[in-house]
Subunit: 142 residues, 2 copies
């Protein structure tokens, strides 16, 4: 999905959920789409504040939460550090470095289609499935 398409999806989803399309929201979403690093709220705030010097941290924070509720960004699983967000909403998987805490996306067709036991599908309403690997990333294992 390119930026144009992402922005169109953004506007559509905002309308669907009755959210107004404000310059702040637009900028936050656009910056999020460009992000390749699972930024935290503060990371995003640092980037947005260059464009909107008066924007408040709270606005960025609330906006990212709305986005995640609307399903146009994801909250990445972590280990009790600050929240981190992911603009990639297609099925993918994560490697997490136990040393530098970097979260690295990867995709794998074979992992995409792992079979969830029927018993679990009956018990839970499953929205998302993902493989999470932990260990040392290429930089840290040197």
């Amino acid at each position: 999905m390119n930026i144009e398409q992402s922005m169109a999806l953004f506007r559509e989803k905002c309308n669907q959920h009755g959210l107004k399309i404000t310059p702040q929201r637009t900028a936050i979403f656009e910056e999020m789409v460009r992000a390749k690093d699972h930024p935290s709220t503060d990371d995003l705030y640092q980037r947005i504040v260059r464009i909107f010097p008066n924007i408040s941290f709270d606005t960025v924070y609330r906006t990212l939460l709305s986005f995640s509720q609307m399903g146009i960004v994801n909250v990445v699983e972590g280990y009790g550090e600050k929240k981190r967000f992911d603009p990639n909403i297609e099925t993918h998987h994560h490697f997490r470095c136990m040393k530098c805490y970097e979260i690295i996306d990867f995709s794998s067709e074979s992992l995409d289609c792992i079979e969830i036991p029927q018993e679990l599908q009956n018990r839970f309403k499953i929205v998302n499935k993902r493989v999470v690997l932990e260990g040392l990333c290429d930089k840290c294992s040197k």
Copy 2:
């Protein structure tokens, strides 16, 4: 693994890592082993403080972190809420409820042996692999 065995492992690992076996550490580990609910630091503190009325939150917190560094408990993946710990260090998987945030363990032999692409094994030093499902738990989907 029963409690006796867990406590033996605990003492062995402490010796291995040069940690002293204090009554506080012993109590924290024992309480952790009994826990079936991925407790947070504060949950554990509330339980321990009944036995050691003077124990400090910080001691519980530091102790749990040491345990996770020693590999005798795990930190559970979450979404930016407080840290939660898991005494189950054998391979298992997690279902996480998007509504009540409960984390439910499950095991599945077929999921235990999913194949990680060779490319990733070359790139990273993989210590742990796990399937994480998100959705609504049985209670919340009613």
